[in-house]
């Protein structure tokens, strides 16, 4: 699968940064069948790591029941413009991708 970067949007309001991201990923449960009736193997994001200025602020663990092209939004305390936010994921097949922004 050609891995695509994570799309991130971030806005600082006061000292809280509201981060929203969208991750292109099929999120296959392993129970779905393709047109030929064969099972499509399970392929889903297992771990999402969120860094604020390279420090871990959140780790999410996901099952296959998170929707396709997962959406994830979270809030960071003590953030201000110029800070960096990076979100990266690892899936059950070991593929990985990430995306990062500088907060405005």
């Amino acid at each position: 699968m050609n891995v695509k970067p994570v799309k991130i949007r971030g806005r600082v309001k006061g000292v809280v940064a509201n981060i929203k991201c969208l991750m292109p990923h099929p999120m296959e449960t392993g129970t779905r069948r393709d047109d030929a009736g064969e099972f499509i193997p399970a392929h889903y994001i297992e771990t999402v790591t969120c860094l604020h200025n390279d420090k871990e602020v959140m780790i999410a663990h996901w099952g296959a029941s998170v929707s396709k092209d997962p959406y994830f939004s979270f809030k960071i305390k003590g953030a201000n413009a110029g800070d960096s936010v990076k979100v990266s994921w690892v899936d059950n097949l070991g593929e990985t991708s990430s995306g990062d922004i500088v907060l405005k």
Binding site: K4, K7, R9, K20, C21, L22, P24, K68, D69, Y71, S73
Partner: protein, 271 residues
């Protein structure tokens, strides 16, 4: 309203006018929906069923906050910017892509309705490229990008006299009963608009074509308007026609005129 007058009103409103011209058809249809949904702005119908059901609208807005079709728009932009073998590209036919408000139009040489999808293939063939399949992914991605680039431009269709026959054909299709269930599009999307069929709220005729292509969660991908026509046909037991068949292009022509003056808001997400 007593039962008697109700029937009288129903009779009056359904007595068909002779072959009226598109503009008076549109005004009559607009009045119909203004009376049926007094507190819904006509322009609000560009959000389809979500203009008529508050509960589902809330969920829809949560989806539109960061919709999955953004990837299709990005991928479509990559395709749009790529050059053809001969060095030309889509920009030579469509500038920056903000052209969807000009489609569909009635083409004088070919004496037929030309939709954006047809124009995309015209542009490719003119540069010696292979035309794209109308049910393929690439044309959906390109239309997604161009729909996004055309957002907020207003539908300003002009039906030339030579295009009236195509317009009337689309109108006839919309108001004719078809399929084993013997329904016409207008019965669901006009007479029953705002009501429910099982769990589905029925959208109104006006605004039905302003937000295509659409990322339907049912499809888990973005798809063109004619894919929805096929689905609707099959749900009343009628055989779906080919994408970009003349019948479907005429139907899109009629429906686009019914949304005349409304802003484009594609692509959109739907259930």
């Amino acid at each position: 309203m007593t039962r008697g007058t109700a029937c009288l009103v129903a009779l009056l409103t359904t007595v068909g006018s002779a072959s009226a011209d598109p503009e008076s058809d549109r005004q009559a249809l607009t009045r119909y929906f203004e009376q049926r949904f007094p507190d819904v702005e006509v322009a609000a119908h560009i959000d389809g069923a979500y203009a008529l059901n508050e509960q589902t609208r809330e969920q829809w807005l949560a989806m539109e906050d960061f919709p999955p079709y953004e990837f299709s728009v990005d991928d479509g932009e990559v395709l749009f910017d790529a050059n053809f073998e001969d060095g030309s590209g889509y920009q030579d036919c469509f500038d920056d892509g903000n052209v969807k408000a000009d489609y569909p139009y009635f083409d004088h040489e070919r004496q037929t309705v030309v939709t954006l999808e047809l124009a995309i293939n015209d542009c490719r063939v003119a540069s010696g490229e292979e035309p794209l399949a109308y049910n393929g992914e690439d044309i959906a991605l390109l239309s997604a990008y161009m729909a996004f680039a055309s957002r907020d431009s207003v539908i300003d269709l002009e039906v030339p006299p030579e295009g009236l026959a195509a317009y009337e054909a689309g109108k006839q299709y919309y108001y004719s009963r078809r399929g084993q269930l013997n329904f016409s599009c207008s019965q669901c999307h006009m007479l029953m608009s705002g009501m429910k069929l099982r769990a589905e709220t029925l959208s109104a005729t006006i605004g039905q074509v302003t937000h295509w292509p659409v990322y339907r969660f049912k499809w888990q991908e973005i798809g063109p308007l004619h894919r929805r026509f096929v689905e609707c046909n099959e749900q009343v037991g009628a055989e779906g026609l080919d994408y970009q068949s003349e019948t479907y292009r005429n139907l899109e022509y009629f429906l686009t005129y019914m949304s005349q003056g409304l802003p484009l808001n594609g692509p959109a997400s739907r259930k």
